[in-house]
């Protein structure tokens, strides 16, 4: 690791200072504007009454202000002469700002909310969201510039997550409107979260099985291919709300007709139409990737395996499938991310899950309840996306190394 840094520093030649990094400078200006110009938080006396927005100046916490100004000014200076060392320092500063953000909120909450008023709550304002967004962009830009390894990237994110988790579980953020909504229905939240995850897992599992069967059938009978793909892509075009709606009637009819289906819990409303619709949507990306993955394995590789005396079953299980795995993982990733989002819509047809809070919140005009549903969905989607991407990358790397090892 250190040798790489040394090479870089040598390649950059000390007498030649690099040009200023315009991306970081713009982001820093944006972050400063958002944090200083827009309301950071709003204090509401209760759930119904609209809150009063407080800007950084209105809060007037001098030490915190000073820390933020010093860090941002330092960042701007580092971005002006972005040597590798300067960028590393900038990364540390941005990371620190992000990690401290929840704790700044803890301090703010303690200052602004009287503990005796149990219904008073703090809403997060546009300035805070904007600042958070821009700082995350800056983190991304720095990670890009410094070409960090996956391990380093995950380490940074894990640190930020831990800081947030500690602040949340420590109780200092309990007066946050979001946390008030959570504490009001924590059992329902955990149940919805579990349900959402189970639904998505079931969808991914079922569509993986079906896609595998379809892909194998298409490899065997190539005439199936065109028809299958055109049916699947038409399915994908139908809007989710419409597909959920269209399934209500036939399922209600079936459940009324065959009582054993009704006993299983199959009804027009609930998990059954959600599961069927989500699987229908998942089939196209899953099948396409499974088919392409199996098809793309180079013919000379399978020929070589056959030449080594492997049976066709052995070729499939020991050569074709392992080599196809990274592309298949890509299909699973797309499907899972899509299903996480669509499962939220399924709440409209009574399927439960985190979407319930979104639509309840929209119905009651309680925006923090909306956040309680939407934020975990976004986080889960990002996390699943990152995990599957990392897994596929890792697999490719192992296979690549295996190839060179055999070659050498």
């Amino acid at each position: 690791m250190s040798s790489v840094t040394g090479e870089h520093a040598a390649a950059q030649r000390p007498d030649l200072t690099p040009a200023p990094n315009p991306v970081l400078l713009v982001l820093i200006a944006l972050a400063a504007t958002a944090l200083a110009g827009l309301p950071l938080i709003s204090v509401q006396p209760n759930r119904i009454m609209p809150g009063e927005g407080l800007t950084l100046w209105a809060i007037g916490a001098a030490p915190a202000l000073l820390v933020a100004v010093v860090l941002l000014a330092g960042l701007a200076w580092l971005a002006w002469r972005p040597t590798r060392r300067a960028l590393r320092l900038a990364l540390a500063a941005v990371w620190l700002l992000l990690a401290l953000l929840p704790w700044a909120l803890v301090a703010l909450a303690a200052q602004q909310v009287d503990p005796a008023m149990s219904s008073a709550r703090i809403g997060l304002g546009a300035g805070l969201w904007g600042g958070l967004f821009v700082l995350l962009l800056a983190l991304l830009e720095l990670i890009n510039r410094l070409v960090l390894t996956p391990l380093q990237r995950w380490g940074l994110l894990l640190g930020l997550g831990l800081s947030l988790l500690l602040a949340l579980t420590g109780g200092g953020l309990d007066s946050l409107a979001l946390m008030r909504e959570y504490h009001g229905r924590s059992a329902a939240f955990h149940a919805a979260l579990r349900y959402h995850l189970v639904l998505v897992a079931a969808v991914v599992g079922i569509s993986l099985l079906l896609a595998a069967v379809l892909a194998l059938a298409m490899r065997r009978w190539s005439r199936l291919r065109r028809g299958t793909f055109s049916v699947l892509s038409v399915l994908q075009t139908i809007p989710s709300l419409a597909l959920f709606g269209l399934l209500l009637a036939p399922l209600a009819y079936l459940a009324a007709r065959f009582t054993w289906l009704g006993d299983l819990g199959v009804r027009g409303i609930g998990w059954a139409p959600a599961l069927i619709a989500l699987v229908a949507y998942s089939l196209l990306p899953m099948t396409r990737n499974a088919y392409v993955a199996l098809d793309e394995v180079a013919a000379d590789v399978t020929d070589a395996a056959r030449g080594m005396g492997m049976s066709s079953a052995q070729v499939f299980w020991q050569v074709r499938l392992p080599l196809a795995l990274p592309v298949m993982l890509e299909g699973i990733r797309i499907t899972a991310v899509q299903a996480i989002g669509l499962a939220a819509v399924a709440a409209l047809i009574g399927a439960g899950g985190l979407g319930t809070f979104i639509f309840q919140g929209l119905g009651q005009a309680a925006m923090d309840l909306v956040l309680l549903g939407a934020l975990p969905i976004i986080l889960i989607a990002l996390l699943v996306d990152g995990m599957f991407s990392a897994l596929a990358e890792q697999l490719r790397r192992i296979q690549g190394r295996g190839d060179t090892a055999h070659g050498g």
Binding site: N21, P22, V23, A126, L137, L140, E141, N144, R145, V234, T237, I238, P239, S240, L241, A242, L243, G245, L246, L248, A249, A252, G268, I269, V337, I340, G341, L342, A344, V345, L348, I349, G355, I358, F359, G361, L362, A365, M367, V370, L371, G373, A374, L375, I377, I378, A381, L382, D385
Partner: protein, 237 residues
């Protein structure tokens, strides 16, 4: 050959859509089969024509903004002076795609309130991403030799953009716009839950009142609209 042939599939879907939206009351007996116990079988609160028009307006305005902004951003970051922003913008476009549309829609409400406006803003935000990504892929996929010979012929930067880069990248860009519009048609329907007037209205009303006929009417119209627009794009590509 072919204009007629090329337009035939979109035309069939469009005719079906028009027929269904104008003549819905004629099918009352059919819809009674799926909802025998309800008093009103045909959704009456709004005419289907105005719902389709309103749905198209929301999607159209949002898609137009997304196309202008998305292509603009992608073109800016592929110029020599904007290249510093390229890695961030392209990564943002791919990360943004993992954001579920419903969540984006829901998060627009606290900022913009209820109605068509937050729906349009959320649709623009979400619709931007595939367009940005595909425009980038399209422009970056052009062989370096082509760009060099264009420069060697003495073309200016603007000429290269309009006469070389955009025409060559067109299929990929149109594919991105297609994805964006398709997602927007679906997401606009969910906009009904935040007060936008769209074809989601009958579906929501049907779910709330347990009236399957309403749901079916809304769902059929949205599905036809989506298929019509999608087949149009298929011909364009």
């Amino acid at each position: 050959m072919s204009l007629a042939r090329r337009l035939s599939a979109p035309l069939v879907w469009a005719l079906l859509l028009a027929a269904l939206m104008l003549l819905m009351p004629l099918f009352e007996e059919v819809f009674r089969l799926v909802a025998p116990d309800t008093r009103a079988v045909i959704y009456q609160r709004d005419s289907f024509v105005s719902l389709v028009a309103s749905h198209l307006l929301v999607v159209g305005v949002a898609s137009l903004c997304a196309i202008v902004l998305g292509m603009g951003a992608a073109i800016l970051v592929t110029r020599s002076w904007g290249r510093d922003f390229l890695p961030l913008v392209s990564q943002l476009a791919s990360i943004g795609q993992t954001f579920p549309p419903v969540a984006v829609l829901a998060l627009a409400v606290p900022v913009l309130g209820f109605g068509s406006q937050p729906t349009i803003v959320a649709l623009v935000l979400y619709g931007l991403l595939p367009i940005v990504r595909n425009t980038l892929v399209g422009i970056q996929g052009i062989a370096p030799g082509v760009m060099e010979s264009a420069r060697g012929m003495g073309m200016s930067g603007r000429q290269i953009l309009w006469q070389v880069e955009l025409p060559l990248a067109r299929p990929v860009i149109v594919a991105g716009i297609r994805t964006s519009v398709t997602i927007n048609i679906a997401t606009a329907a969910i906009g009904s839950t935040i007060g936008a007037r769209t074809l989601g209205d009958p579906i929501i009303a049907g779910i709330v009142n347990g009236n399957t006929a309403f749901i079916l009417q809304g769902a059929l119209l949205i599905a036809l609209l989506a298929l019509c627009i999608d087949s149009l794009f298929e011909r364009l590509q």
